[in-house]
């Protein structure tokens, strides 16, 4: 075990995957010589050479389109989109190509590739460095969508994603790169070295895509969360003294429905939280599934605490971000119903 930040865990996952399989290639804007604006690929070019890790032109469509072609050849590209907010130019290649290639060719060609992107706000990035577009991927048949919340999961899930034979969207909430951020932006950053999930095994291990993790056991209510909001929910529960069961979904598609149903049937109350805008966010799917499968166990309507239906505002990001107060108030409201 070594204490790692999530950045170090992601870098380590790259190294291990590249060492085990020559077909793994890594590229994207500033990822080669420089090592990525968040340093997640730092040292890979030096270590593996410029035919394994290299910089790309500023063309997200080109990065993903080329990756699809490379994957069809037999490689396993793991590419970085510098910010999730900039994935839109690549959206056609992701939705119409990577997601559909296996199906439309009946398995003749496949697209085993990973598209990594930093998501979420909290760094004063404004509307184009703060987005959480997961729901734009979960609606697309053929994509697996992973969102990580800590270094241990990040390494195990990234290795699993690179080894997966299907295209995987790998979302990295940038606010938890360096510590388990709980939404208290006014407080000093707690480093991962002080958190059990910052303990990362050396060498190869992988975490099954499609399995949720019970982050905190409890009986009062169930919180369905992923990414940064896992830590926010924990802070809210502790501050409100509510015995919440917090489920870190980790994978949105395929979804671990059993873990959700088991918990909601136990608690009878459910809160869904995410940072993305509310309307048509992935929380809507979770809320729909909960009432479809657990309606007669529900003692209260499932609530959603999410980003507002506006662009992510630079100066007001802490009013936009669903922090511990908002999440806590929703917990109290749920318990009062």
């Amino acid at each position: 075990m070594t204490a790692m930040t999530m950045i170090e865990a992601i870098r380590d996952a790259h190294v291990i995957a590249m060492e085990r399989d020559d077909n793994v290639v890594v590229f994207g804007q500033d990822v080669g010589y420089f090592g990525g604006v968040f340093r997640c690929t730092h040292g890979l070019q030096e270590r593996f050479g410029d035919h394994r890790c290299f910089d790309s032109p500023i063309s997200e469509a080109g990065i993903v389109g080329a990756a699809v072609g490379m994957a069809a050849y037999g490689l396993r590209p793991c590419v970085e989109i510098q910010f999730a907010d900039y994935m839109y130019p690549a959206y056609d290649q992701i939705v119409s190509e990577a997601a559909r290639l296996r199906h439309r060719s009946a398995g003749d060609f496949t697209a085993p590739l990973v598209i990594r992107m930093p998501t979420g706000g909290g760094i004063f990035g404004g509307q184009t460095h703060s987005q959480s577009p997961e729901a734009l991927f979960t609606h697309v048949a053929g994509l697996k969508t992973v969102v990580v919340s800590n270094p241990y999961d990040a390494k195990g899930l990234l290795i699993a994603a690179i080894e997966d034979d299907d295209p995987v969207i790998f979302l990295e909430p940038k606010r938890v790169y360096n510590g388990p951020f709980d939404g208290h932006h006014e407080r000093p950053i707690v480093p991962w070295s002080k958190h059990p999930l910052g303990d990362v095994p050396e060498g190869h291990y992988s975490i099954e895509i499609g399995r949720a993790r019970v982050h905190r056991e409890g009986n009062d209510l169930t919180v369905l969360a992923y990414g940064t909001l896992v830590h926010v929910a924990q802070a809210a529960a502790e501050e409100q003294g509510i015995d919440a069961e917090i489920i870190d979904l980790r994978t949105l598609v395929p979804l671990d429905v059993d873990a959700i149903v088991a918990s909601v049937e136990k608690t009878g109350r459910c809160l869904v939280v995410h940072e993305a805008t509310l309307t048509s966010g992935y929380g809507a799917e979770l809320s729909a599934i909960v009432q479809e499968r657990c309606l007669f166990h529900l003692e209260a309507p499932t609530l959603r605490v999410c980003g507002w239906d506006t662009p992510y505002p630079h100066a007001h990001e802490w009013s936009y971000f669903p922090g511990p107060d908002r999440v806590g108030r929703a917990m109290l409201k749920l318990m009062a119903t």
């Binding site: 056609d92 290649q93 060719s105």
Partner: protein, 418 residues
């Protein structure tokens, strides 16, 4: 915002390319060189010197059917006869399936009438292991690669024997083993993918090259740019084909080409050597494709080729060109018909005659009829002879995940249908 301004300056206006009817068919092809006129540059010739020939047209066959000039490819008579057969087979294949559409046996079809030389010729000039990233109008690639006609027809009919399980629109074939990448309904996406595939071959120090295909109209799409940027930056071993058949459904080439003289010019914006080639001249197609392939294999990077041809038929079975097409366009098209021109050449060199031609026509027709009879015996989507609807849940992922298993069960045995 008001549009008041200094009255001393003229009011602005746009150039809206004139609609098709305004264009005389004979003027359709700009800059036609004489056969043999254009020289053949060395493989490693400086791009700026090749650029000096940008308005010339690679042509081998003259009006008498004689092969002339530096571009005459060094290929056997048998290879030429094989090319003729491939083109005639492709044309017969298209004709039979158009008929099947009129008979209401299939839902949709797209023919390549008049453009057969390009796909058929390039397929023969490349090697097994190379990968083509085609559009819906390169069936000649599969046919020349001897992919079974009946499998193609089963795909078009979406019947139980369709290798793609009826998932794709007719003509959206896929065959890795025959060097034919899965066709996408979304234009241009395959162009950058081809560059990526070629990059992969080079990243792994392979020897295979990729060939990207696009219509002139689709060069306006963004992925065309991504492909040229990546091909130019990494010097990927790829052939960038632009099939200029002068039409994008109802819009003439002008809308995509803009003010530039040729589509080949796009390559020079990236210092990618670019040729304009007579796409109805099988020998020119073979020679230009071979030249580009040799450049790629010699690590000399990408080559762009603008193929000049004509979409003789309708865009698809859903299209009615009478609304927008100038009359007598095919008849007056200055580059003639690819089958006729290669036939004329073989006759010129005394390797062909009317009897052999009739015999070959009978042979390919019979081959197509036999294949169609077999495919037709399996029925089609129109007769409801399709495989199990449950197959739609396969291949969404490598394994069928829980939510898709649940949906498959929910669909029920009969597979819904209403």
């Amino acid at each position: 915002m008001t549009t008041q301004g200094d009255e001393s300056v003229a009011k602005l206006q746009l150039r809206i390319p004139e609609p098709a009817r305004g264009q005389r068919p004979p003027d359709r092809v700009r800059y036609i060189s004489k056969a043999g006129e254009m020289q053949k540059p060395a493989l490693d010739e400086k791009v700026e010197r090749i650029a000096l020939m940008r308005k010339q047209l690679v042509r081998v066959l003259d009006d008498d059917g004689q092969a002339v000039g530096e571009w005459v490819p060094d290929i056997s008579v048998e290879e030429k006869q094989r090319g003729l057969r491939n083109m005639m087979l492709t044309r017969a294949f298209d004709a039979r399936l158009l008929q099947a559409h009129r008979q209401g046996k299939i839902s949709f079809y797209m023919q390549s009438l008049g453009e057969e030389a390009i796909a058929c010729g390039q397929q023969r000039a490349l090697r097994p292991g190379d990968m083509h990233f085609p559009t819906y109008r390169q069936q000649g690639l599969l046919i020349s690669a001897e992919y079974p006609l009946v499998d193609m027809m089963n795909q078009v009919m979406s019947n139980e024997f369709d290798p793609l399980h009826g998932r794709q629109l007719p003509v959206m074939y896929s065959s890795k083993s025959h060097g034919f990448f899965s066709i996408s309904g979304n234009l241009a996406t395959q162009y950058i993918q081809a560059v990526g595939w070629a990059m992969a071959s080079a990243l792994r120090r392979g020897t295979e090259i990729a060939s990207a295909w696009i219509g002139e109209g689709a060069t306006a799409e963004s992925d065309f740019h991504a492909a040229l940027v990546f091909a130019s930056t990494y010097q990927a071993p790829v052939i960038l084909n632009i099939v200029n058949n002068h039409w994008a459904i109802s819009t003439p080439e002008d809308f995509a080409r803009g003010a530039s003289a040729t589509f080949a010019d796009r390559g020079y914006g990236f210092s990618i050597p670019a040729l304009r080639v007579d796409g109805n001249d099988y020998l020119a197609v073979f020679a230009a494709s071979q030249w580009a392939a040799e450049r790629a294999r010699a690590n000399l990077g990408p080559t762009l080729i603008e193929w000049i041809t004509l979409r003789v038929g309708a865009h698809s079975t859903s299209d009615d060109p009478s609304v927008y097409r100038p009359p007598r366009e095919a008849e007056e098209f200055p580059l003639g018909d690819p089958v006729q021109r290669l036939r004329q050449h073989l006759e010129f060199i005394d390797e062909w005659d009317a009897d052999r031609h009739v015999a070959l026509q009978t042979e390919v027709d019979a081959q197509v009829v036999a294949a169609f009879a077999e495919a037709d015996s399996h029925g089609s989507v129109k007769t409801g002879d399709v495989g199990s609807a449950h197959t739609m849940f396969d291949d969404v992922f490598a394994d069928v995940p829980r939510h898709l298993r649940e949906q498959r069960d929910a669909m029920g045995e009969q597979g819904g249908q209403r």
